[in-house]
Point group: C2
Chain length 494, copies 2
């Protein structure tokens, strides 16, 4: 199932991204800091379109609302969430050159095996036993230590509490739960969504947009009655829908379990409320974003892999050729009452609610998506090359809904009233709400190629015939065929 | 429905905001940090709608594109921009209680006069001369000192360069200019927009959303040829449009100069390119956001008030009753080549471009908007109270485009197939793209009031008659009149 790692595809994507305006290293004129990326005009558009589709799909429920909370949050938030104590990375410093490495990563590179999640003590033992050396200078390594991955700040004149940049957006929702519950008429389930930045001081950021120090998350936190996790009122609607699961048992055989939602509940003992949202997520990827079905799966995490507070945790994974296989781009986490309970304890505020004469702390189902990872995944999946070295065509086969512009518009020549006609058509299409990219320089062939590699699906050319019979040519990105259509019919080609 | 009796308007807005879900202090269950606010579901919706209208109005130009850049940026960026040296606030510490104050602010409170922009030396002199005391404990104050208002961070293991959270979004655009110019076919003018967070370590944040430590800016940076500042190709379109200016000369008489764009260029010697964008901004406020005309003005800044690199600088101001007068909510800044030149110097990269055989550094016209300030302004302007203590009605007279929902939908009773009919209508309206708030609890009168105070303009009630003749009542927020209309005609009431 895994695709052979194509070591140059990620370089090709990066090249295209920088050249055309999807993304580039942040502040690159200063040599940049690793793990920070800026979005150019095409990347920003792709990201916003993804976010709009996400909102439409996941917030189209009566119980779901979006909020926005600050990136800076005070220390007690992270005492309550456990981040102060547990959000740490193992590091090791080279005795010779002084470089600080992420301990588990360099051991993994050295021994070709994953050691994620091991304690500093265990990693130190492995470093000694296998004589792991500094990958930079081959020097001896110090014992592994831990580093908290949050960014602390000094606020005001630094005399009060020490705040942090949030390492996940979720806590911003949890600290606002009580107020939102009150405002939204004290009903469960209650969904609170947030699209925003999170920050992690990664020791070794890597893989372009995949592991960054500053990144965007889109999350929906659903607060619900834990006694009702076994049911979902609309479960019947998805009972026969087939999920693509990579269970712990599938790991050995490297297969996928295709299983109906009904069976996932009955045979795999997954609660209906959880299964319903697996289906909702899968439909987003297959029906809305139109991913090829074999590129998508949910991966079950083992008990060692998942955070202790996640009772159920499956990652959303997409198979990315440029990164050599399935990569996590989100997850569905049953976080129980861990967070609200923690905030209740540290803040002294009662987080329990009363419904039907029962008093309890709502449980949380978290639908979590790395937005930058999703953007990168879309670029990986849609990037194609055709032809040979002499005549190579790069095509970004983005689905229409994610294409940066609905149409490109080319006046064949810049004279004979053709530009005027093109401007007129542009105005008409803009008024209909279409996004238009106007390009009047270079041969038509070159203009097509420029649009192909940024994913514009339809190019319209205005020529002399247009002036005579009000027709234009529409050229299709994927088939490269051209047809002649009436100006009035253009919009039906979307 | 409980409104505070003798509170000021800003307290009333804050009370409504917290109670209903516009905004509240961030992490308030922990007592919060001052100058940080979270948006509830209504505030987040209002903010997103404002941003969408802003994009539609300002990016509807062939030359304007949106990008997105990181909040974390390396130190040299701020050496180049001047923030490291100049972005400082004057502070003074109380010798008795140790509190650190913003020096100019407490002198202003003490003497009732503005001292913004004075140096620490000057402020120290005033403290001594007027024996200014600590407002908290009446203790003696130390000499004024300065504090850089940026938030520094430690990245990785802290061995490289020290990054900062950006204090303005603009620098993210400037460091990306060369690449974007290349990607967008080397044409001027080139507009690069960015909506994002900025961070300032204010010593005394105040006025709710107005002066925060973390806030959102929406900015359009237009790079242009300085030789063309005197012209704008579409100036004729706005030549007779009347601007509302509060010039330096108007200050004494406290009047407004109403002047056509033509005259602003001819008599006030403002360049056409600048005047065109004054008109564009004013139209956004008066035509799109539909502000009452007398609430809006541009204020000319004196040479002492404006940053040294702004050759022309007018603030966008809105008259906010809750804050006692006109307040800055944005500005139009002719920043010359200050920023690109600075980045060229510090990065060693050539920032000049070549057009028509001339080589020059593009100049920048910055259209800058504080998004949170705009949101607050909209709340201030639309907040109204009617009636007396016994029966007070709060109405948020938001324009339709900014209303959190297009319609509220009420089943008169929760039986007799009325909820089913209501759900059916909801589905139909949602499919037409309308935002719907469904409320089925409490008397209809109370439900109306709940919608009035969050600004929903139209409430639809489904009753027994609906089942018979497919009509509903639509009640108007502002006039409180009710009319009976056919279900099929509902959408025409927007």
């Amino acid at each position: 199932m895994d695709i052979k790692k194509d070591s140059t595809k990620s370089e090709k994507i990066e090249d295209l991204a920088k050249r055309r305006g999807f993304f580039n290293q942040s502040s690159e004129i200063y040599g940049s800091l690793s793990g920070l990326y800026d979005y150019g005009f095409l990347g920003a558009s792709l990201k916003r379109k993804w976010e709009a589709l996400w909102r439409k799909h996941f917030l189209d429920e009566d119980f779901a609302f979006e909020i926005e909370t600050t990136n800076i949050m005070p220390e007690p938030v992270f005492r309550a969430s456990g981040h102060l104590e547990n959000f740490i990375d193992p590091t090791t410093r080279c005795k010779k050159c002084g470089t600080v490495h992420r301990a588990d990563h360099i051991i993994e590179e050295f021994l070709g095996e994953s050691f994620e999640g091991l304690s500093a003590e265990k990693l130190t033992e492995i470093i000694h036993r296998h004589r792991v050396k500094c990958p930079k200078c081959k020097g001896q390594l110090e014992d592994a230590a831990t580093l908290n991955m949050m960014f602390p700040l000094t606020i005001g004149t630094g005399e009060g509490t020490k705040p942090y940049l949030r390492p996940e957006t979720a806590q911003g929702v949890y600290v606002n739960f009580s107020r939102a519950f009150e405002q939204l008429r004290k009903k469960l389930p209650l969904g609170l969504a947030l699209i925003g930045k999170a920050y992690r001081n990664e020791i070794s950021p890597r893989n372009l947009l995949i592991r960054q120090r500053e990144f965007t998350q889109a999350e929906l936190q659903i607060f619900f009655d834990p006694e009702r996790i076994g049911v979902h009122e609309r479960f019947e609607q998805i009972a026969d829908y087939k999920l693509r699961l990579f269970t712990l048992a599938d790991k050995k055989s490297n297969t996928i379990t295709e299983i109906t939602c009904k069976d996932a509940a009955a045979k795999l003992k997954l609660p209906q409320f959880y299964v319903y949202h697996l289906a909702k997520i899968q439909k987003f990827y297959l029906d809305v974003l139109k991913l090829p079905i074999d590129k998508f799966r949910f991966r079950e995490l083992s008990e060692e892999e998942r955070a202790f507070y996640n009772r159920i945790h499956w990652d959303i994974e997409i198979n990315l050729e440029s990164l050599g296989g399935f990569k996590e781009i989100g997850g569905l986490h049953y976080r129980t009452d861990h967070d609200l309970k923690g905030h209740g304890k540290i803040s002294g505020k009662d987080m329990s609610i009363s419904i039907d004469d029962r008093r309890f702390i709502p449980n949380v189902l978290e639908l979590s998506f790395g937005v930058d990872r999703n953007v990168y995944a879309l670029l990986d999946l849609s990037y194609h090359e055709e032809g040979d070295e002499k005549d190579r065509r790069i095509v970004l086969r983005l689905p229409q809904l994610l294409s940066p512009f609905d149409f490109a518009l080319f006046p064949l020549v810049n004279k004979d009233n053709i530009p005027e006609k093109a401007q007129e058509i542009k105005k008409m299409l803009k008024e209909k709400g279409f996004g238009i990219f106007y390009d009047d320089s270079g041969s038509i062939g070159r203009r097509y190629r420029r649009m192909d590699e940024i994913g514009v699906a339809k190019c319209i050319t205005i020529d002399h015939q247009t002036l005579e019979d009000s027709t234009v040519t529409i050229r299709d990105r994927d088939t490269m065929t051209q047809i002649r259509v009436k100006i009035d019919d253009i919009s039906s080609y979307i």
